[in-house]
Structures are given as C-alpha cells and as structure tokens.
C-alpha cells in the first residue's frame, strides 16, 4: 500500500462534500490533522479506506477523499474486519465514537482488538451522544446531567483504555483534538503499528458537552493535569516540576523542584503491560494536585501476528496440503457411480 511517485498534499485528501459539523466542533481538528499527516504516511490514496458507524464522528469518511463506508451503528469494527481480512493490501481506518464504539459496538470493538488485524481504530470520545442531541454515553462521568439523566447519570463509566488493555489490544494510545502535533504523532504511530491500533481521541462537543476535557486542553490547567508519554523517557510533567515514580506497585507523584532526582523516576516503557495498566488507571474525573496526571501518548504497544496474516497463512497451508482447489474434483467428490 505504499505510494511511489509524486507526493500528496493535505488537500488531496479532502472530498468535495461540505463539512457539516457544528462550528467549533473538535471533529474539525481531527479531520484536519488526519489530512495533514496522511501525505507523510506514504499510503497510496487508492488503498486508503475509512469505515465508520453512526454518530457525528462517523460522518468523517464523507469528508475524506478516499474510499469509505458510513455503515451502521456500532458495526464498523466488524465491517473493517471483513474488509481487511479479505483484502490485506488496504490501509483501513475505523472511525467511531464513544457511543458507537463503546455502547452498541462494544463487542465488535473488543473482538477486533483481540484478533489484532492491522487496522487503526480511532475512537472520538466526546463523552456524549452528539448526533442524537445529548444523552450520556458509556464514557460520561458519574452524576452527569443530560437529557436522559436529568438527575445525573448513575452508570459507572468505562475506562476506554483499561477496557482495551483487558481485551488484549496490541496498541493503546490517547491523544486530544486540541493538540495537533501530538495528534498527528499518534496517528503516525498508529499507522506504523502492525496490528490493531486503538487510539482514544478526546474530542470536544461544544454543543452538548462543552469543556469536558478542559483540564487537559485549557492552557492554564493542562500542564499540571497531563503527562506526555515518551518511550524510554522518565515520567515528568507540569513543565518539568513534577514526576512520577513507582514504589513497588504504587505510583507516586514527586516534586522535582524539591531536589528529587530524575534518575529515580519511572521510565516509560510501552512494552510493559503492567505499567500500561497502571497508567490507564490514572483516570480521576476531577483532577487535582494530589491526583495523578492523565497520560497522553502510547501507553502500550506489543508485537503480535496479525489476523489477516494468519488467515493468509492458512490459505497457503491449505494449498500446500490439498493442492490448488479443483472445482471439478470438488463437485465430483470421492465416490461416484455411472448410470448408463
């Protein structure tokens, strides 16, 4: 699926359809970064496919000048599974929302993750059902007031990254609509990962859930509340003022301004499942000084054979064992008789 010859520009990936999200919607930024990063990825446009379900986010494929399918609610991972398994040459991207991917589509999602096809699943998490005008979603925080929860939501929300890790995902990352550079970087890594890349993207729905991610996007707060993960680097945040260390299994926040040495810090290792687990659990809904910062970047990445490879191997093996299928032999079977 690599492209030779002339390079693309981001415009090459814009379709001719008017983009119809609400003005100010975080989806615009994600679309833009996708179109911006694609020329760098070396994917031949003819091999590029976006598959989505239903939701505001799921309109994404219409705006991409590539192949695409706006399927039905929650089923995009299954559609993508069939597509990629049937045609491994394609670069397949699933676009889904927190409702589409974690509510109605939760099962397909976790099964896709365990099967590990080489596809990329981008979950636009705005912690709300946007398209149906504002009901709480499986990622909405407890007590959230919405149209369908006038006294506050009583549903303990999913932790989308823990869930993915529990489902044996081989690539688990988080990024956010408001940080274009980081977003592009994560998209690139997702593309590079051979296997199912699962990327949660915090996306602001300014109409029904404005400011849901302010602690991690607002210029004043975000440094203190977020930690950017970098492979092999110590976990430092808050402009270098704070860091994390591990005391046995227990993570601790340390104050680097008080002479704590960087060498004692927890070093990020995206291959370490237990560390990824602990990081995914930094999930306090109302962050504060004594709370752990929300991690952004690649929490976990593991090499595992892909489903489509294994499938193709079996076809090869069948060829080897049984020989190329001969239709007449198949139809004739093993025992026949003649009637004259």
């Amino acid at each position: 699926m690599e492209r030779n010859g002339t390079a693309y520009s981001s415009k090459d990936f814009s379709s001719d359809q008017d983009v119809r999200w609400c003005p100010g919607c975080g989806d615009y930024s994600i679309l833009k970064q996708m179109q911006t990063v694609l020329p760098e990825l070396g994917i031949n446009r003819k091999d590029l496919v976006f598959i989505s379900g239903i939701g505001c986010s799921s309109r994404f494929p219409y705006y991409m000048n590539s192949y695409g399918m706006h399927s039905i609610h929650g089923r995009a991972p299954a559609v993508a599974t069939g597509l990629k398994a049937a045609n491994p040459e394609l670069s397949v991207w699933v676009i889904t929302g927190d409702g589409d991917g974690l509510s109605i589509g939760g099962n397909h999602l976790i099964h896709a993750l365990r099967r590990n096809l080489d596809i990329n699943i981008l979950l636009f998490n705005n912690e709300i059902y946007g398209l149906t005008k504002g009901q709480y979603s499986p990622t909405s925080e407890l007590g959230k007031y919405t149209k369908s929860s006038p006294l506050g939501s009583i549903d303990h929300p999913f932790n989308p990254l823990s869930l993915a890790l529990g489902a044996d995902a081989t690539f688990v990352a988080r990024t956010v609509d408001r940080d274009p550079t980081h977003l592009r970087e994560v998209l690139k890594r997702a593309h590079e990962h051979k296997g199912t890349s699962y990327v949660e993207i915090y996306q602001n729905c300014n109409v029904f859930n404005d400011g849901a991610f302010e602690p991690w996007t607002d210029k004043k707060q975000r440094d203190a509340n977020s930690i950017i993960l970098q492979q092999g680097q110590p976990l430092v945040y808050d402009g270098g003022n704070k860091g994390l260390r591990l005391d046995g299994l227990k993570p601790q926040i340390v104050d680097l301004t008080e002479g704590f040495s960087q060498s004692e810090l927890w070093v990020h290792d995206e291959k370490d499942a237990t560390k990824a687990h602990i990081l995914s659990r930094f999930f306090n809904h109302e962050p504060g000084p004594d709370k752990f910062p929300r991690p952004f970047g690649i929490l976990y990445s593991e090499d595992r054979f892909t489903y489509e490879e294994a499938m193709q191997n079996q076809l090869d093996k069948a060829l080897e064992l049984q020989g190329k299928g001969n239709l007449d032999e198949l139809i004739r079977g093993k025992s026949t008789w003649e009637v004259e």
């Binding site: 379709s15 359809q17 031949n44 446009r45 003819k46 091999d47 590029l48 496919v49 976006f50 598959i51 239903i54 494929p61 219409y62 991409m64 000048n65 590539s66 192949y67 695409g68 399918m69 706006h70 399927s71 039905i72 089923r75 299954a78 559609v79 993508a80 599974t81 069939g82 597509l83 990629k84 398994a85 049937a86 045609n87 394609l90 099962n107 397909h108 099964h111 499938m311 079996q314 076809l315 093996k317 069948a318 060829l319 064992l321 049984q322 020989g323 190329k324 299928g325 239709l327 007449d328 198949l330 139809i331 004739r332 079977g333 025992s335 026949t336 008789w337 003649e338 009637v339 004259e340």
Partner: protein, 613 residues
C-alpha cells in the same frame, strides 16, 4: 427360526436406523447411503437428530435416527413409514415402532431391552416389548448384537467400551446382508478413517463382517434385492444439502473470478456450511467465525466492499439479528448472499427440527422499503444450484440475495448427477468500464450500478446507509430524490424477474382443477403425492417456486388456469399470504407445523379432499 432363506425383489425399501446418540447411528446411516448410491439405487435420506441437548443414555429424548428410502424407481422423499426398523435399544423401539409398516421388519439389539433400558425409556420393566411383537404383525429379528460383537472382538486389546463402539457396524453388516449390499465401500471408508489406529480398524471390520455373516448363520427368512434405478444416464454422487450449498458458493466464486469470503456464527442447522468451507481454503476461501451474526453479516459486507464475494449463513434467530445490516446492504448495493437454513421457531423453538416459517421474515423483515430477492432450494442437490444462482444474482445485480434452505434438506442426502464445471455459466460482475465519468450510483439498463473496488486509482468514493442522491450517491435529504430512490430500488429488484427462465410445470396438465404450488423442501413430498394423485385419475398439476421474491412474471397466468391452488407449507400459511396478496386465486393453504417434513400421503389426502373425493 430355522426356515430357509428366501429371496424377494423390491422396487423400493425404507429403512430407519435408530439408537442412542452414542450408538453411531448417523455413521451407519451414511455408510448405508453411500453403499446404496454406489449400487445404483435412487435414494433420499433424513437424519433425525435428538434435540440439541445431549439427553441421558437410553432415554427417548436421546434417540438418534436415520431414515433412508431407496429403490429402483424414482425416489423423492426419505419415505413415510419405514419397512425396516433397526432399534439398538428400547427407547429407539418405543419412539419408532408406531411408524413401522404393518408386516415390516424389526431388527432389535436384545441387550438394549434389559430392565435398565426399559426403565430409561420409561417403559414397563416387567415386560420385554419384544415378547409382545406378534409374528403376524412384524418380522422380528432379535439379535444380541452386544454379546455377539463382544465375542467377535474377544482377542483384541480393547476395553469393553471401545468394543461396544463397533456394534453399529455389526448391525449394519446384518442389514447389508439382508439387502444384498456390497461391503467394499464401507471397508474402504473404515480403512481410511482408522488408518492411524489398526486395532480399532480391525474391530470395525470384524464387526461389519460378523454382522454380514450372521445373516447366513441364522438363515434369515428373506433377503431382498433392489435393482438399480433407471436414473438419467450420467455420473452420480451422493450429496448432503449443506455440502451442496457450500460447493455451490465455491463454484460461483470461481466462476465469477472472486474470492469467497464466508463469515458465520455457529448455529444449528447451518454450522456445517462453515465447517465445510473452512476445509476448502485451497479454493481461495476465507472463513471467518464471527463473534455473532451481526458481525458475520457486516464482515461479509466489508469483504464485498473490498471486492470479495461476501456470504453469511445462519438460521432463524440469527437471521432476526441480521435485519438491520440487510437494510444497509440494500442501500449499498453490493453483492451479498445470506443463507437461512430454517429450523422450527419461533425464538429458539425446535432447533434440530425443520420448518419453513421464515419466509415472510425474508421478504419483509427489515425497516423501511428494502426489497431483497429470496430464492429457495427444493432438495439436497438443489442447494448447489440455488447457492450458485443466488451468488450469480448477487454479483450481477449488485444486491443482497437471501437463500432459504431448511434443516430437512440441509442434512438430507440424495444421488446427484453433478455438473461439470465447464457447464456452469460464467458470472460477470458489473465492473466499472472506465469509459465515462464514474458516478457510484449511475445505473445500466437493468438499473444496476457498476462496481469499483478499493485499490482502484482515481475512483475513490464513499457509500453508506443514508439516503443518496440519485447518481452521485452523495447524501441527500431531498424529498423527491428519496421517493425516486425508493422506487428505483424496488424496480431494480422487480426487474430481476424479467430474467428468470420460464416456469416449468413439474407434472400434470397446463390447466385444470387443482394446482399444487410449493416452494423449498416440500418438493419431493408434493411430487410423489401429485404423481400418485394423477395415477388415481385426479386432475392435478404441480408447480414449484425457486424464486419466492420477486415472484415470477408468468406465475399469475399459470395460476389462473386452475380452479384451485393448493399450497402445502411447513408453516402457518406464509406463501399463501404472498400469493393471495398478488393474485386473484382460490388458494387453499395446507400447513403442517410439527418440525417434520410432509409425508406424501398427507399431501395426497389433501389433494383428494380438494377433488371432493
């Protein structure tokens, strides 16, 4: 019993093998089938599995049955009342004795009628029912198969349990003797099956032969010979419905030059299609066992989008789950084959029994106006043709197509004068010619859009489930456009009927008193019934539908030639509804909803009734 053996010729015999689930009844039955087929008889079989649960040994619920009807004449059904009952235990006897023809033969395994077995079968322990069989009613062979078989294997290094496992071969051997069957095919089969286990192989071979020789030893009353059938000349094989269906899919994919992508979720009685295809990956077949039926159909849609022939198969409850995705497939206009091997409903219903009650679901079971062609198989071998035809329609007309089969023909078998691959028509996908501007929903004169696959340069496009603008396929909320698109989608499916071959009457006059109109697996029973009715002098004809939606254009004319239309169905009258809504005909619905196929005499009786007889 010391009479000498006599010989008798028969033109047709029905044998019912019955025993506990663990008794290897299905294996014995399928071996008898193969041997009989190879001996040139026409035949039809019907396995009667115990309900999905594995019932305790020896109980009536645990009885497994296999019926074969074979003869020198044309055979269309597995037969109604057997001539021979092989009963490996009391429960098998209890369940089946009432069906046995008066004067029929009982072969009973004596050991299966001890007190324990009688108790398990909920029968009176103090009376051995075999003692009650009157010689005037039945020809009874009481054989202590268990004991004889154990004795025969005495010197083999096998546990008791393992020895007893070959009892089915002993019984089969005896039946082979009675009916002059050739041992070779089964000997070959055993040799292959147990190639890695010489002791077990030896046990089975010995059991088979001992059973055969047992016939000679006891000088049984009569042996029967059945001449070969006068089938159409050609090469034949024996075929089971689900196998035929899977082969039809493979054949179609090859003829279309497409890879077959099969996505399924196990469900009785459709699972064997998945099993079969997963053993044929050397035909470029990819099989995907999905997490559920919705994933199966949507994965198949994804594969079709990617340029494969996407197929999924299921049964009733799974079909109910696929409704939403079927609507998507209607909107996308991509090739897709959906097989429903029907079983007894509603809900989980009678999973191992047969029924035809998902017809209206196939025709109407989706939201919105979403027409999908529906075609139905009439016999085990016809499953091949229907699968092939459905695939052809799906690819050439760019549409989902629903195939209806059912548990009866899916598991049943018959001889098949199979085709050569060269004789199968080529299937031509409507690929985009590249000559004009590509508009995803621009149509040819059959209203079929052209197919562009991801990977084709410069033709990138998006499709989806929202209403589309007429030719461009862009999302459109325009009222008139919607109406036009609904009409186009209806019309393009309706026009498929223009390409059907003319309907062919199966038998009877082109006009007259009664037309028996059937669809699906009832074909064989209706055929026998109508043949018999005609030979009784009744004015009756038979027509059988392959295409149930859209209905054939010439159906109305044919129907109008008869005073009455009799529609026998294994449901509560579903085709009857479709016919009544389309034609002005005097329709009599004849329904059986017992999880069992029609017996020919049931249909015959109904025909007589309509004739006022």
């Amino acid at each position: 019993m010391t009479m000498t053996t006599r010989e008798e010729k028969r033109s047709k015999v029905t044998i019912h093998f019955a025993g506990d689930s663990g008794d290897g009844i299905q294996l014995a039955g399928s071996q008898f089938t193969l041997t009989t087929a190879l001996q040139g008889n026409d035949l039809s079989t019907f396995p009667d599995f115990p309900a999905e649960i594995r019932a305790p040994i020896g109980t009536v619920a645990g009885v497994s049955g296999f019926q074969i009807n074979f003869g020198s004449e044309e055979i269309n059904t597995p037969g109604s009342n057997p001539d021979v009952l092989v009963a490996m235990n009391a429960a098998a006897f209890k369940k089946n004795i009432r069906n046995l023809k008066k004067g029929g033969i009982i072969i009973a395994n004596e050991a299966g009628f001890d007190k324990r077995n009688l108790r398990l079968a909920h029968m009176d322990e103090s009376v051995n029912p075999l003692d009650e069989v009157r010689a005037s009613d039945y020809q009874l062979y009481r054989v202590d198969i268990t004991k004889l078989n154990r004795e025969a294997l005495q010197d083999l290094e096998l546990g008791m349990k393992e020895r007893d496992r070959s009892r089915n071969m002993f019984a089969l051997g005896f039946v082979y003797w009675l009916f002059h069957r050739n041992l070779d095919p089964t000997l070959q089969f055993l040799t292959h099956k147990f190639q890695t286990d010489p002791i077990v192989l030896e046990a089975n071979i010995r059991a088979l032969k001992k059973g055969y020789h047992y016939g000679e030893t006891i000088e049984a009353v009569k042996r029967y010979s059945i001449e070969s059938a006068k089938l159409k000349p050609g090469t034949y094989r024996n075929i089971v419905g689900n196998q035929a269906l899977a082969m039809g899919l493979i054949a179609a994919s090859q003829k279309a030059g497409l890879n077959l992508f099969y996505a399924g979720y196990p469900i009785t009685p459709a699972s064997d299609i998945l099993h079969f295809l997963s053993r044929h990956k050397n035909f470029n077949v990819k099989t995907f066992q999905a997490e559920d039926e919705i994933a199966a159909i949507t994965a198949a849609i994804g594969a079709s989008f990617g340029g494969s022939m996407g197929v999924t198969a299921t049964s009733g409850p799974g079909m109910a789950l696929k409704g939403e995705a079927l609507g998507l497939a209607v909107m996308l206009e991509l090739p897709l084959v959906i097989v429903n091997v029907q079983r007894g409903g509603p809900s989980t219903g009678l999973p191992t029994k047969t029924e035809q009650a998902d017809l209206l679901q196939a025709v109407y079971g989706r939201n919105g106006e979403s027409p999908i062609p529906v075609i139905a198989a009439r016999s085990p071998s016809d499953c091949f043709w229907v699968a092939f035809e459905a695939s052809r329609m799906a690819v050439e007309y760019m549409t989902p197509v629903i195939v209806l089969s059912d548990g009866y023909i899916a598991n049943g078998a018959e001889p098949w004068r199979f085709p050569k691959s060269d004789d199968l028509g080529k299937i031509q996908a409507p690929y985009f010619s590249g000559k004009e501007e590509y508009l995803p929903y621009k149509r040819n004169d059959k209203l079929v859009r052209s197919w562009v696959l991801p990977g084709q340069e410069g033709l990138e496009h998006r499709i989806g489930g929202l209403e589309k603008e007429k030719e461009t396929g862009n999302v459109s909320y325009d009222p008139e456009n919607h109406e036009e698109m609904v009409k186009i989608r209806a019309e393009r499916i309706a026009r498929i009927a223009d390409d059907y071959p003319a309907l062919e009457r199966i038998q009877g006059p082109p006009k007259g008193r009664v037309l028996v109109l059937g669809w699906g697996s009832t074909f064989g029973s209706i055929k026998v019934a109508v043949r018999n009715a005609i030979s009784e002098g009744l004015e009756v004809s038979q027509l059988h539908l392959r295409h149930v939606f859209p209905l054939p254009n010439d159906l109305g004319d044919i129907i109008s030639g008869y005073d009455q239309v009799l529609i026998p169905e294994l449901n509560n009258g579903q085709l009857s509804k479709l016919i009544r809504q389309e034609y002005d005909a005097s329709v009599t619905a004849f329904n059986k909803i017992q999880g069992l196929p029609f017996r020919a005499d049931e249909v015959l009786e109904k025909i007589r009734e309509l004739h006022g007889a």
